[in-house]
């Protein structure tokens, strides 16, 4: 398996952690980054953000505001598990 891309994520308590990209998927013409943050207990949290481009063309990962979008991504991941 190839090495996964990592980037920084600021979690709720302000701490900055490394996240590993699982996949960048397109759902209903929107790009979402799905990534994980490893935890000390040997498990991981799976998170997602909406991928958008800033004025200079760089990717910006933004919060997923709509609950239905979150549901779609969750379903997508479940689909992979079945």
């Amino acid at each position: 398996m190839s090495e996964r891309q990592t980037f920084k994520v600021q979690i709720e308590n302000g701490e900055i952690q490394d996240a590993q990209v699982l996949a960048v998927v397109t759902i209903d013409n929107k790009d979402y980054a799905i990534y994980t943050i490893n935890k000390k207990n040997g498990k991981s949290d799976v998170l997602a953000s909406c991928v958008e481009q800033d004025a200079e063309g760089y990717d910006v990962l933004k919060d997923i505001e709509k609950e239905e979008d979150k549901y779609k991504i969750t379903q997508y991941i479940k689909g992979l598990l079945k």
Binding site: M1, S2, Q5, F7, K8, V9, Q10, I11, I16, A19, Q20, V21, L22, A23, V24, V25, I27, D28, D31, A33, I34, Y35, T36, N38, K39, N41, G42, K43, S44, D45, V46, L47, A48, S49, V51, Y58, D59, V60, L61, K62, D63, I64, K70, K72, I73, T74, Q75, Y76, I77, G79, L80, L81, K82
Partner: protein, 682 residues
């Protein structure tokens, strides 16, 4: 040249320039020739009729792919010219190219006749005791490719060649005569090639001589390089002929080229090489210098003379202009103006050189960009965000480690499924849950007759409640997920069992039990459990009206893993409708693109029995949707399977799972062409 090398050249050439003649020849002549061979080979020792048909199919597929690729190349070419090279297009083209390579290798490598084959066939047949079936076709077929590819542009020779083969196979001519005729064709062919190369050589040497006279170093070097290539071509051709005919002499070909001005010229000129021409100009240079060195020295020596000549010409022209200006009473240019013009001239030359260099660099950049794009496509999208993500959305908390690798870690997913299987067994042993098929089996084998539905369903309901209790108390996500799925499955089994009972026993009150047990469903999958079958069966049939206006297929059963896994998350991707005896399946183009991208094939109909009945379809495109229509009148039987299958066309290395979206039975009572009822079951 190896076959692989030829093939790569063809593909590369096609991508760089879709008008490339070699590629077009491959389509028009090569495939025509192949089809010609196949057409005439049916029923003989080369291939069986079935094999020939298979080959034809492969070739047709290849042709289709080629057309597809050509159109893509055309688009990409246009886009690249306007600097709008789309990532998707490059990706699609790359994939098509790879697929084309695969198909090409499977269709071409296996099926062609070679000169060696003919030699072998002639020899074997000359023994008279050998039957066609004893000929090792596969072995000799592999020998043909080199000859075949050389012959593809020689239609007349090729057809003559084929005719001889056909006559030989059909016993119209004797083997020895066939051999003589084939040799004759071969020699004519070689003579033609020799002649072409000699003509080119002749023209190039004349051009080279002129260029030397004109002191054009760069053009001369280019021409000289071509001359060397042509000479190598001659040598290569001679070597390849000698491989087939060890006693071959070049002079053997001359009889085919009598009265040919190029061969006469070649004979006269063969001792006059370009080097000697140069040497004539370079009598004073050192004897051991290389050709390029000699040219360079020659050019240096000529520099002063040429400079003087250029200046002289410029002066002449300037003087002429001065005269003209005098006549026209226009201001005479000063010395400074003259120098300025010379400088402009020099600057322009410099600019041209720089532009050339930029052009070359841009071309290299374009190639590397394309390579980069392809690499990016192959490795998945790379995020280039610069700042930390501040508001991530949490989807799953405390996932087990293997969930994080879900996309590729197939073994873990299989392990999860095994865990579910084990849990099912545990549930069966501890709580008495019967999978549906087990239940039916017990009933069938039991001497007590049908199992009491009330007791069975009551027991199932209790079991589900117990499972729900475990589910609510459990803190383990994996366990919860498994239990939830078992509950869903059990609820589905209950519904299926009720449906089955209702079908077998008209007195059984199915709707009552459905209402009774549906109330026990409380998970979000409630609608999913009800399935299409419930929605459809509950509708009241009406013999003269359309029963089902629209069905939406549920894609949740798609199972695809691996780097190219097909992600279907939109339930509206496929719509099925029945109206006016027409069954219409509408695919969004997005789905078609995804299917193509994932190299899946869509087979909407699968006959229950392999009859001869032909179900035709009409394809129509509208509003970004592709619609396939089937006339139900064409379907004579009252039952056929309706299925949409994603068939894996990728080899096992790609790690893509075969997936079945939905398989059901369309049970039709087609009376006088009218649709009465449709039942879709899972």
């Amino acid at each position: 040249m190896e076959l692989e090398e030829i093939r790569n050249k063809i593909i590369d050439a096609a991508i760089k320039d879709y008008n490339n003649s070699m590629y077009n020849v491959l389509n028009q002549e090569l495939l025509e020739n192949v089809l010609f061979v196949l057409k005439h080979s049916k029923g003989n020792a080369l291939y069986s009729k079935e094999q020939a048909q298979e080959i034809c199919k492969e070739i047709e597929k290849w042709l289709e792919l080629r057309e597809d690729l050509l159109s893509k190349i055309r688009i990409v070419k246009e886009q690249s010219e306007t600097h709008e090279l789309a990532l998707e297009d490059v990706k699609e083209m790359n994939r098509s190219k790879n697929h084309l390579l695969e198909v090409t290798s499977s269709s071409i490598e296996d099926f062609y006749i070679s000169n060696s084959y003919i030699e072998e066939v002639v020899w074997l047949k000359s023994q008279e005791t050998v039957s066609w079936s004893n000929i090792d076709v596969d072995r000799v077929l592999n020998q043909i490719e080199k000859v075949f590819f050389k012959w593809q542009k020689e239609e007349s020779h090729w057809k003559r060649f084929i005719t001889i083969v056909e006559e030989l196979i059909n016993g119209k001519i004797r083997p020895n005569k066939a051999k003589m005729q084939i040799n004759d064709v071969l020699h004519k062919y070689y003579a033609k090639i020799y002649n072409e190369i000699l003509k080119e050589l002749h023209d190039l040497l004349e051009e080279a001589t002129n260029l030397i006279k004109k002191d054009n170093k760069n053009e001369f070097l280019r021409t000289n390089s071509l001359i060397k290539t042509k000479k190598e071509d001659l040598d290569t051709l001679t070597v390849s002929i000698k491989q087939i005919e060890p006693n071959f002499k070049t002079s053997d070909l001359f009889k085919y080229m009598n009265e040919n001005k190029y061969i006469r010229w070649y004979k006269e000129q063969q001792d006059i090489s370009d080097e000697k021409i140069i040497q004539a100009h370079l009598a004073s240079t050192k004897a051991d210098a290389s050709l390029e060195e000699k040219i360079y020295i020659y050019m240096l020596e000529k520099t002063n003379e040429r400079t003087n000549k250029v200046i002289s010409n410029l002066e002449k022209r300037t003087n002429q202009k001065v005269e003209n200006n005098r006549e026209k009473e226009v201001t005479i240019p000063t010395d400074k103006e003259f120098e300025s013009r010379c400088q402009d001239y020099t600057n322009m030359l410099e600019e041209i050189n720089q532009a050339n260099e930029r052009l070359e660099n841009n071309y290299i950049s374009l190639l590397s960009l394309e390579q980069k794009l392809i690499e990016e496509i192959e490795s998945g999208k790379i995020l280039d965000n610069q700042n930390p993500v501040k508001s991530p959305t949490l989807l799953f908390f405390d996932f087990n480690g293997f969930y994080t690798d879900m996309k590729r870690d197939e073994e873990k997913i299989i392990s999860l499924r095994n865990s579910m299987d084990n849990l099912e067994i545990e549930m069966y042993e501890n709580y008495g849950i019967f999978p549906f098929n087990v239940l039916a089996g017990i009933e069938k084998k039991s001497s007590k007759g049908p199992i009491d539905i009330d007791i069975t369903l009551q027991k199932k309901k209790e079991t589900i409640e117990k499972l729900k209790s475990i589910y609510d108390k459990s803190n383990n996500n994996l366990e919860r997920e498994i239990i939830k799925r078992v509950i869903v499955m059990e609820q589905g089994i209950m519904v299926s069992e009720i449906t089955r009972r209702q079908k077998n026993d008209p007195t059984f009150d199915g709707p009552f039990y459905l209402r009774k047990y549906r109330s026990s469903i409380s998970f979000e999958e409630k609608e999913e459990i009800q399935t299409i079958s419930n929605e459809v069966t509950e509708q009241v049939p009406n013999s003269s009206e359309v029963i089902v206006k629209e069905l939406r297929l549920n894609f949740k059963s798609v199972q695809a893993v691996g780097p190219n896994a097909l992600a279907l998350q939109d339930e509206e991707l496929i719509k099925i409708s029945i109206a006016e005896h027409k069954l219409t399946i509408a695919f969004s183009k997005e789905l078609r693109r995804k299917l193509k991208e994932a190299m899946y094939q869509l087979n909407p109909f699968q006959r229950q029995n392999k009859g001869t009945e032909k179900i035709t379809r009409e394809i129509e495109e509208k509003d970004n949707t592709e619609m396939w229509s089937y006339d139900l009148k064409d379907i004579q039987t009252d039952k056929f399977y309706f299925s949409i299958i994603l068939k894996n066309l990728v080899d096992s290395k790609k790690n893509i799972k075969y997936s079945l979206i939905k398989k059901g039975v369309l049970s039709e009572h087609l009376k006088n062409g009218e649709v009465e009822r449709i039942v879709l079951t899972r």
